[in-house]
């Protein structure tokens, strides 16, 4: 169903989720967002990508959880000393919290990429900055062409026989220079093609525009509704100098649940795009 939504709303939703994780910095919300994003990611990605992704997450997790307590010595609960530097419980927990936050951010971006294809951003802005958007679109067209050309270059010169890494790098750099001039040369023809199809005319229309439909409004209302519950029940959480948080027996669970549903929304609206 996601494809029926206006891309502005799709982007808006993801920006909202990502911003709220960063700004709130509350371990329970972050844990919710982390688990849900991983869950959605597993649902929509291929096996190979999932394994790659987990490796990346594991690396981030270990790296940040270790770095924070080593360099930050705030907090009152001292566990032990390393070379006279105190390692505190708070900084360890804060490191874990941050690593979860960052890996969930990455996962959300991956999901965004998968669900809303990048070219859609083009059509949100086309109305306001048409020529920059055209350049962006041309670039998107050229990048795969450059890759293809590099491959052709390697194959034509049978570079794979060369075992010496240094000379290989030298040749590759040379190839890149050649490919760029090749592409520039060819771009002239693209310019001709643009010109011959009337690019120089001043008055233009835009073909694809996204109108707001009923479903878009429904989606906005759902988001607002959930967000209001999520904010009403929100209570602050601080790590330093000692872990301190407030809890309301009625509103806090409501807030957690509404945030959980908010995060789960893409799975209700996701349909694989062609």
């Amino acid at each position: 169903m996601f494809i029926y939504l206006n891309p502005t709303i799709c982007y808006g939703y993801f920006i909202f989720i990502i911003l709220s994780i960063i700004l709130i910095n509350h371990p329970i919300y972050i844990l919710i967002s982390f688990l849900v994003s991983i869950f959605i990611f597993i649902r929509i990605e291929t096996k190979k990508n999932i394994i790659l992704k987990f490796r990346k997450i594991l690396f981030i997790f270990i790296f940040i959880s270790l770095v924070n307590p080593i360099f930050v010595h705030k907090g009152l609960t001292i566990l032990f000393y390393i070379k006279d530097k105190p390692i505190t419980l708070e900084s360890i927990l804060y490191g874990i919290n941050n690593s979860l936050m960052i890996s969930s951010l990455f996962t959300w971006f991956d999901i965004l990429n998968k669900i809303v294809s990048s070219d859609k951003i083009v059509y949100i802005f086309k109305k306001y900055i048409p020529s920059s958007v055209l350049i962006f679109s041309i670039c998107l067209n050229i990048i795969p062409q450059l890759k293809e050309k590099y491959k052709q270059m390697e194959e034509a010169h049978l570079i794979s026989y060369n075992k010496n890494i240094f000379s290989k790098i030298k040749i590759s750099l040379n190839f890149i220079a050649i490919i760029i001039s090749w592409q520039l040369e060819k771009s002239i023809e693209t310019a001709y093609s643009m010109n011959s199809r009337g690019y120089e005319n001043k008055q233009k229309t835009i073909y694809k525009t996204y109108n707001f439909k009923k479903i878009d409004f429904i989606f906005i209302i759902i988001i607002l509704f959930l967000t209001s519950f999520f904010i009403i029940g929100y209570k602050s959480f601080s790590f330093y100098p000692i872990i301190f948080f407030q809890y309301n027996i009625i509103f806090s669970p409501i807030s957690y649940i509404s945030f959980l549903i908010l995060c789960f929304l893409p799975i209700f609206f996701y349909k694989k795009e062609l």
Binding site: D119, L134, S137, I138, L140, N141, P144, Q145, E148, K149, Q152, M153, E155, A156, H157, L158, S160, Y161, N174, I178, W182, E185, K186, S187, E189, T190, Y192, S193, M194, N195, S196, R197, G198, Y199, E200, N201, Q203, K204, T205, I206, Y207, K208, T209, L274
Partner: protein, 548 residues
């Protein structure tokens, strides 16, 4: 109704003193399909580009061009954009944006078309061209044939009165080109668009063309309908150098008797030749199939049970592929699209690593690298072979020492191109230089992927002769081709690749005379009268013997 008129038109480029076009007078009627033929450099493209003012490089003009009886200069840019469409030969550079649909919309957007009309037109053209499946795809997800179809559609969507196609199918494989030609045929019968098509190979569009323009050195040698064209060539051409423009199926019929009517297609030719069946009492089996004695020759490499699949796909492209290449052989590999021909070549030269099976090289090569250093590889796209600023720099290293093949530079008329930058050459010229370069490498084994792509008939036969010649000097040659006529004429052995394995591996003569459909047009036509003729030359010889 006259739509375009060239009135005593001459043109020269600013950086060149020679006139590219000399006193052209040409009048073209609405709704006709005009085929422009001529050797490369005869001025076809320049003539057509003069109609599309946006594309014309700076130069001096004399005379006038009239569009609907009004001088072309007096029209506004917008009207010319709309009414004259131009499709060039380079497929990917004409594709501007990332997505197919935005490509279709590009021209309309620039013409300030209202959105509802735009939607209707795009829907219509995508249905007409059957682009529904690729409508949402990116340019890198679709094949070259599909891309060219999108290019055509995105020009036609502006509803041009005149459509100029400059060698539109020179970069396409045979199936995509057939598809393209059929689309043009359909368009021609359904609309009043005027088509101006330039081509090196006349037979592609011959069937559907109304009139033919033969260009020579910037002048129009002939302009008229097809029948007159054939008669003109037979009447005026003393040295038979223009005969190369005539398709084989016509040549055969005309060779039998010059006063025969010109056949429309291969089928028609078969009918005509069958009338001679009764007239010729008994045609002796003129060409004997030589017994293929199993002489064990020294081989250059051997492929055993090769399996290969791409990482991304589940199916094997090559399955249980076996092939032995003998020394000093000339092997053509033929097969349909996607049968794995290029994949096989890339396995041989170790760009791809086989999943199973192996390639055993001659013992002469101690290591794999020794073998790989002694081969020349000509890829399908030849431009990456050139990394220097001029052709001269590219070929310089071959002048050192005595290179036995150095004559090739003059033979292929490359000496005229030496000062040029590789990017300024036309497709055909590049192909010539690339072939010369790979031969000058003095390889033991020459591997070529589609060597005749982009070449006109004259150059093709020249290349063919050179290949036979160097083959006699001891170079083993393997090439992939879609051009059955070329394979029939210039190869000793042919291999048919089907479903990932070598289905047939036999001498070229045996292969083509036993095939029913997949064979040269000469063989198709003459089969019912004389067997085992592969090329037009074979036919000429056989016919000569019969008449004696």
């Amino acid at each position: 109704m006259e739509i375009i008129k060239f009135d005593n038109f001459s043109f020269k480029y600013n950086n060149n003193n020679n006139l590219i076009l000399k006193n052209i007078n040409l009048s073209i009627n609405k709704g006709e399909l005009i085929l422009f033929i001529g050797k490369s450099g005869s001025g076809k493209t320049t003539l057509l580009k003069n109609l599309k003012i946006e594309l014309l490089p700076y130069g001096e003009k004399k005379g006038e061009i009239y569009f609907k009886n009004i001088s072309l200069q007096k029209f506004s840019k917008e009207i010319l954009n709309k009414s004259i469409g131009y499709l060039g030969q380079d497929i990917s550079t004409q594709f501007i944006t990332e997505k197919v649909w935005s490509e279709l919309a590009f021209g309309l957007e620039n013409l300030n078309t209202p959105i509802d009309i735009m939607k209707r037109k795009i829907a219509e053209i995508s249905s007409y061209f059957n682009l529904n499946n690729i409508y949402n795809k990116s340019s890198n997800q679709i094949s070259g044939g599909e891309k060219q179809m999108v290019n055509l559609a995105s020009i036609l969507i502006m509803n041009p009165k005149i459509l100029i196609l400059d060698e539109p199918i020179s970069q396409l494989d045979p199936i995509s080109s057939d598809n393209f030609i059929n689309t043009i045929k359909k368009l021609k019968s359904n609309s009043s668009t005027t088509f101006l098509i330039s081509e090196q190979n006349i037979s592609n569009f011959f069937e559907i063309s109304d009139k033919i323009v033969l260009m020579k050195n910037g002048t129009i040698d002939f302009y008229g309908n097809k029948n007159d064209f054939i008669n003109f060539i037979y009447k005026n051409d003393k040295k038979n150098s223009d005969l190369i423009f005539i398709p084989n199926f016509i040549k055969i019929i005309k060779h039998i008797d010059k006063n025969n009517i010109t056949p429309v297609d291969v089928n028609h030719s078969i009918k005509i030749i069958n009338t001679y069946k009764t007239l010729i009492p008994k045609i002796p089996m003129t060409t004997n199939i030589k017994n293929n004695k199993k002489i064990i020759k020294e081989n250059i490499f051997k492929i055993e049970n090769l399996y290969y699949k791409y990482e991304t796909s589940n199916n094997h492209i090559l399955k249980n592929c076996n092939l032995i290449i003998n020394k000093q052989d000339m092997v053509s590999i033929i097969g349909g699209n996607g049968s794995g021909k290029t994949t096989l070549l890339k396995n041989i030269i170790s760009i791809y690593k086989p999943n199973h099976g192996k390639i055993i090289f001659n013992k002469k090569y101690k290591k794999k690298n020794d073998f790989l250093l002694n081969i020349s590889y000509l890829p399908q796209e030849v431009l990456p072979l050139f990394i220097k600023d001029s052709i001269k720099d590219e070929l310089d290293s071959y002048y050192i020492g005595d290179n036995p093949y150095i004559n090739i530079i003059e033979e292929l008329e490359i000496d005229k191109l030496l000062q040029k930058n590789p990017y300024d050459l036309s497709g055909g010229e590049l192909q010539k230089v690339a072939i010369a370069k790979s031969i000058l490498n003095k390889p033991d084994l020459l591997i070529m992927d589609e060597p005749t792509k982009n070449l006109d008939e004259t150059t093709k036969s020249k290349i063919g002769n050179i290949l036979s010649c160097i083959n006699n000097l001891g170079i083993t040659i393997i090439y992939i081709t879609h051009d059955i006529e070329f394979a029939g004429e210039y190869s000793k052995t042919s291999a048919l690749l089907f479903n990932g394995e070598i289905a047939l591996y036999d001498s070229t003569k045996n292969m083509f005379s036993n095939n029913i459909f997949y064979t040269t047009s000469t063989n198709l036509i003459t089969k019912s009268v004389i067997k085992n003729l592969i090329t037009f030359k074979d036919f000429k010889d056989a016919w000569g013997k019969i008449n004696e």
